[in-house]
């Protein structure tokens, strides 16, 4: 309406615009009036460079040898907290090794390791409130471990045994825990992103102190759901931290084939999101960025985007052999030269908070803990087959009740052809 008025005014009364005001930002004809954007006019034809080479810098606190570069950036976490970070990362690593092996031996059907990305999990988890709601993709088990999820339940889900709170419904690594505010993982990628935004919106209305954190990989960020989530979070002013694990690969697809812009962080400003890129293998950098983003997201009701750069040292999953698409040298570089666990250990040793003997003892005891949980999970029977039918709806519809009865009758006659001996009655 203002534009229309301005147009009519200019056409009918050109003499009324003083010469000194023409060509300045004062008069309406020198400032765009479009509802969609209000930046200044330009009379110079120039395409904006995506700035791929310069790019958004990678925030870090420690160098690759675990030395804090700038004292003011040291979060100065107490010793016990840093040891908890270290123990969580190494316990996760140990659990990964054993469960990966167990899949190769046919004991569980599938597994995904977190090798190389442990820093992104614990660095961010430590920066959250325990009640903050977490939506993950599938490579964030360290977040759940940091929150105290017992080994027994990780194993129960992977084995689909009778102790699995998920009732054996999903493939391994699809963990969930209501008590620890970790929403159950699902296989479709990026679907959790707009969901996390909706949850943040509802939480904003219900509890001014809680945040939502949403994890996803750089591959999932290509999905339409990611675009939807970013846009909704910004327009609806949601207290959410988007945490992208950019680990270099989406199965076999390297980042050069996933995007052409400056990674995921550079997309943030396009949506109106405050954004940062961090060294994902530096737990303190991850911690600092997540803590500040979380604090401000809640205080200001606006979303933040963190892109944590890291490297997927392991295969995508047990169904993948990554030697088919990348060199052993490349993997070894990250394993040996820039590993989040090594960097934190060097920091700990430099502080004399950890030493060889503790390392040896911890390796032994953590391995023992994992093996014990593992053996127990193996021995546990599976849930009763009737659990196949429940929780489709909150109440069981008559048709499902009939189908359950059909299966029971079927098993009475044909039960010998089914692995009933492994299942509870």
């Amino acid at each position: 309406m203002a534009a229309l008025r301005a147009l009519r005014w200019r056409r009918r009364l050109p003499g009324l615009v003083p010469r000194r005001l023409r060509g300045t930002a004062e008069s309406p004809e020198e400032r765009p009036q479009f509802p969609g954007a209000s930046a200044a006019f330009s009379d110079h034809l120039e395409f904006i460079q995506p700035q791929v080479l310069a790019g958004i810098p990678v925030y870090r606190v420690m160098d690759r040898q675990g030395q804090v570069l700038r004292a003011s950036e040291d979060p100065q976490l107490p010793k016990e907290e840093v040891l908890k970070l270290y123990r969580t990362m190494t316990l996760l690593n140990t659990m990964d090794r054993i469960l990966y092996e167990s899949q190769r031996q046919g004991r569980i059907s599938f597994y995904m390791t977190n090798y190389g990305e442990e820093g992104t999990h614990v660095g961010s988890a430590a920066a959250l409130d325990p009640n903050d709601l977490v939506f993950g993709q599938y490579r964030e088990a360290g977040v759940l471990l940091y929150r105290g999820y017992p080994l027994e339940l990780f194993m129960a889900q992977c084995y689909g045994n009778a102790r699995d709170p998920g009732k054996g419904r999903q493939m391994p690594v699809h963990y969930g825990c209501a008590e620890r505010h970790f929403v159950t993982i699902s296989s479709p990628l990026a679907t959790q992103i707009p969901q996390a935004v909706g949850a943040a919106y509802a939480i904003k209305r219900a509890d001014a102190s809680r945040a939502v954190v949403c994890y996803f990989g750089e591959g999932a960020a290509s999905e339409g759901d990611a675009h939807a989530g970013f846009n909704f979070a910004a327009t609806l002013e949601c207290p959410i931290v988007f945490f992208c694990r950019n680990n270099g690969y989406a199965i076999s697809t390297p980042t050069a084939e996933q995007y052409r812009g400056d990674g995921i962080a550079a997309r943030g400003p396009g949506y109106g999101l405050l954004s940062i890129r961090v060294d994902g293998n530096d737990v303190f950098a991850v911690f600092n960025a997540t803590r500040e983003a979380r604090r401000r997201a809640v205080a200001e009701n606006q979303p933040f985007l963190i892109e944590a750069m890291t490297y997927r040292i392991g295969h995508h999953s047990t169904s993948d052999d990554s030697s088919a698409y990348r060199s052993v040298d490349e993997v070894n570089y990250w394993d040996k030269q820039d590993h989040p666990i090594s960097r934190l250990r060097l920091f700990l040793e430099r502080r004399a908070w950890w030493d060889e003997r503790q390392e040896r003892d911890w390796r032994k005891s953590s391995r023992k803990m994992v093996l014990e949980a593992f053996e127990q999970a193996e021995r546990e029977p599976k849930p009763p087959p009737r659990l196949l039918f429940s929780d489709v709806y909150r109440e069981m519809p008559p048709r499902l009740r009939r189908q359950r009865e059909e299966l029971e009758r079927h098993l009475e006659t044909y039960g010998e052809h089914y692995p009933l001996q492994h299942f509870q009655k």
Partner: protein
């Protein structure tokens, strides 16, 4: 709206004298056809208190108003709902309940449904609007792979039962491919969601309130051709009509006809025609809930051996929904009557 009408009058007045007269349609030229059915209102119910004359969109507004009043966590969102919605279903709600409870989203159906699921995961009530059922497909993954499976896959640790998705549905006379679709069949075999389609304002309000209160994610399709055309006395206070229960509108002995939404009014007319012209007694059933559907009332494989003729399905043709050919495309009362006649003579 008044400004636009005034602009129209001004335009006609501005045209050279006689031009509007010359632009009038020629006698005998085709006019846009009237509806293929006659809406048959149900009598005002007495058990729910005071009633008010409402059309379908007003009965939807009333249901949403009741839901927002009763449940402080409830929010209504989608494209253009803030100003009242393209079909006026949300008129007045933003003013009454505030902009944090009735709000526009960006234009993104996968986002709308995903966002709604997230709200529901926290336990709050999410009422999402998809502007036309024809545009629900970007949200198909969120509905089928996520909403429907949320409770099952988590072992009941999480659910999105407090999500309801509403969308205008079905033929409207001129909607063509993308404003006429009835996509319930795509969802009808997806365990975990409920699908409900009302035939009238009275049914719509009670069924929508049941969907909103149901602890499972529901899709509620609203026959858009009835938004203004269907008028009934509808209770002002909230009331519920149960889900997964078909309604027998008329009992009969010779032929059973089942339909939902707008088509219920078509088959009611066909039943009357059959009685009058053929002396045939028809049972008329409104399915109401497509999923989980009321197999007991409808009866299926158990009664297969009792059928005296094969089941006839009268639907649109296996083509996209056409524009100018709509009168030929839709399963009108003549096609239904003819199917019935052939069935009787089987």
């Amino acid at each position: 709206m008044a400004a636009m009408a005034a602009a129209g009058r001004a335009l006609r007045a501005a045209l050279p004298a006689g031009l509007w007269g010359r632009l009038a349609p020629l006698p005998g030229a085709p006019r846009r056809t009237a509806a293929h059915f006659a809406f048959q209102p149900d009598p005002a119910p007495r058990e729910y208190g005071q009633t008010q004359k409402m059309n379908l969109f007003q009965s939807i507004t009333s249901a949403l108003d009741n839901a927002l009043a009763k449940d402080p966590t409830a929010v209504v969102f989608g494209e253009d709902v803030a100003f009242g919605g393209v079909f006026r279903c949300t008129v007045g709600l933003r003013d009454k309940y505030g902009k944090d409870r009735v709000f526009n989203t960006p234009l993104c159906e996968q986002g709308i449904v995903g966002f709604g699921i997230g709200i529901a995961v926290t336990g709050a009530t999410a009422i999402a609007e998809i502007q036309f059922a024809d545009y629900i497909f970007p949200a198909f993954d969120q509905i089928v792979n996520e909403a429907a499976k949320y409770r099952y896959r988590s072992g009941d640790l999480f659910n999105c039962g407090s999500l309801t998705i509403r969308a205008p549905w079905g033929c409207v006379g001129h909607g063509a491919l993308y404003h006429s679709q009835s996509p319930e069949a795509f969802f009808a075999h997806c365990p975990g969601i409920k699908i409900v389609i009302p035939r009238s304002p009275l049914q719509a309000k009670g069924l929508l309130l049941s969907c909103i209160e149901d602890k499972n994610p529901c899709i509620f399709f609203e026959p858009k051709i009835l938004y203004r055309a269907a008028v009934e006395q509808v209770p002002v206070e909230p009331y519920n009509i149960p889900l997964s229960q078909a309604e027998v509108l008329q009992t009969g002995n010779d032929v059973t006809m089942v339909a939902w939404g707008t088509q219920v009014h078509v088959i009611k007319e066909v039943a009357a025609m059959a009685q009058e012209k053929l002396g045939v007694s028809c049972e008329v059933i409104d399915l109401r809930t497509i999923l989980p559907w009321d197999t007991e009332t409808i009866c299926k494989e158990e009664c297969f051996l009792n059928l005296e003729a094969p089941i006839a399905r009268v639907c649109g043709y296996d083509t996209p929904f056409p524009h100018i050919f709509e009168p030929f495309y839709i399963p009108d009362k003549w096609k239904c009557y003819d199917a019935l006649r052939r069935m009787i003579n089987y």
